[in-house]
């Protein structure tokens, strides 16, 4: 198969004229800060600090202590914080893109832990505070491509998933990793029927160990907003977005390919691998192009890159595989 040489990691194929100007998202964010301040007045003085601080820290690059990463995608302006937090697929909180922002407030992000089990020599439970301190938190901007045909550029915060996996010491029998998301019918009463909750996703071991696979705890230098999968999720920039499980509570190391939610739902539409692939159409639409969120309608469409442009890092894992069959 012909694999397009990606313009990695600069993403230079996107002309700068098509990029959201920085002032624009900054403006939106100052608007958000303004509304937060207004809300604070309404809530009363004792809560002002709590309400203002999230937006304030978002404006002043962060509550989380972060370091720069060599694995960051440069040359593309990030999608605005407003769009990243108001255009979400998080079906447990409703199927409309605007639902998670409205409904995810009840997600109990503290206390939180991830239980690691299965084929590992050191099964253990990580507390979220422990996860936040395990390794230096890196600012990593990645392109994010949804299987539905839209895309964003998102400045995540986290470190490589492999760092956590190494601490658990998987046995040679472990061939796959399964991620299970938080699920509570009471908290997530919007979850549609007919799905196997909790949300389950999985990766092959080598995919999980790839440095690009990001254990993600933040966004725009701040903690993850609930609707984006707080408090901890994975981000796999070369795969369609649904592979990147949110609000993870369990990681299991297994010897067989684990069941994954969307693959169970419609195996002909969503494969286990789900690598971004412009040459493999979704049955209902082409994947050759994508709509960049936040851009005007006449300039929204861009070509989709093989492996979402991350081929230099990940293509070798799929050598000899027919990616149209193993989609």
């Amino acid at each position: 198969m012909l694999i397009r040489k990606p313009d990695l990691i600069s993403g230079s194929s996107i002309p700068s004229s098509e990029i959201t100007p920085k002032e624009k998202w900054l403006n939106r964010r100052s608007f958000l800060a303004g509304s937060a301040a207004a809300g604070a007045l309404a809530l009363g003085a004792n809560r002002i600090a709590e309400v203002i601080s999230p937006s304030k820290s978002a404006m002043a690059a962060g509550k989380l202590d972060t370091v720069k990463s060599s694995l960051t995608t440069t040359g593309e302006e990030p999608t605005t914080l407003h769009d990243i937090t108001n255009y979400n697929n998080f079906y447990e909180f409703g199927t409309d893109k605007t639902d998670p922002a409205k409904n995810a407030g009840g997600l109990p992000t503290r206390p939180w832990s991830i239980k690691v089990s299965g084929l590992v020599n050191k099964p253990q439970t990580f507390d979220i505070e422990q996860i936040l301190k395990l390794r230096p938190l890196e600012d990593r901007t990645y392109r994010f491509r949804c299987v539905e045909g839209w895309s964003m550029v998102i400045p995540w915060v986290g470190y490589s998933l492999s760092e956590l996996i190494k601490l658990c010491d998987p046995t040679p029998k472990a061939k796959y990793v399964q991620f299970l998301s938080y699920f509570s019918g009471k908290v997530e009463k919007w979850a549609p029927f007919g799905y196997n909750w909790p949300y389950s996703e999985g990766l092959r071991m080598d995919e999980a160990m790839n440095p690009l696979a990001l254990l993600t705890v933040g966004l725009y230098g701040d903690v993850l907003p609930n609707q984006d999968g707080a408090p901890v999720r994975v981000i796999l920039p070369w795969k369609y977005g649904f592979k990147s499980a949110k609000s993870i509570v369990q990681i299991k190391f297994v010897d067989k390919q684990p069941p994954t939610t969307w693959n169970d739902q419609a195996p002909n539409e969503y494969g286990f691998y789900s690598n971004v692939n412009p040459d493999k159409d979704h049955p209902r639409w082409s994947q050759k192009t994508e709509r960049r969120i936040g851009q005007p309608f006449y300039a929204q469409r861009h070509p989709t890159l093989m492996f979402n442009g991350y081929g230099d890092f990940v293509a070798s894992m799929y050598n000899g595989m027919d990616l149209k069959k193993n989609f």
């Binding site: 199927t95 549609p192 309608f297």
Partner: protein, 206 residues
Amino acid sequence: MNKTTLIILKTLVWIACLYPVAVLVYGAVTNDLGPDPTKTITFSTGLSALRLLIISLAITPLRKLWSRLSWLIKFRRLLGLFAFFYASLHLLTYMGLYSYWDPHVMVQDVLKRRFITAGVAAWLLLVPLALTSTTASIRRLGGKRWQQLHKLVYLSVCLGLLHYWWQVKSGVTTPLGLTVVMAVLFIARPVLDWWKARKAAKPSPA
């Protein structure tokens, strides 16, 4: 109904029918069509077309139910033509913002993707109806043949809803509301006819 009331009502219907496209134009000018403008335009035009078609289909049953509402017929052509207007905008949105005017892509989509096939068929069925919407056409075709031709609207609205159902992800039920309304309207016609026939057949008390 007197002339002034009719003019006022027609003006209100025009305003209501133009509202969705006005919102889109305003959003386009102020660059405020939401995070995914292409999708906003697609969804708004498609939904408006289906809604207007279904409203236009409600007129006959309503008139049969309450003879006092018979004046509603004066609005059916307007609603139908606006439905066609939005369906055409919806199609143009697909052609311009999805296929980028590439005829090869369009042909492939129509052949390969059943929701697009259904949508294009629904629009094609509306074309002869829009073309024969004038009073002169009714006269030329004759009332009966015109009515038979315009029964195509039922097929078109069914295909339109199928297009909607096939487009959403499995488990998503947003097209349900419109589907239920349409089903009620479909059942209403024979039921109302039967009811009227029964009433007429009853011997009047002498």
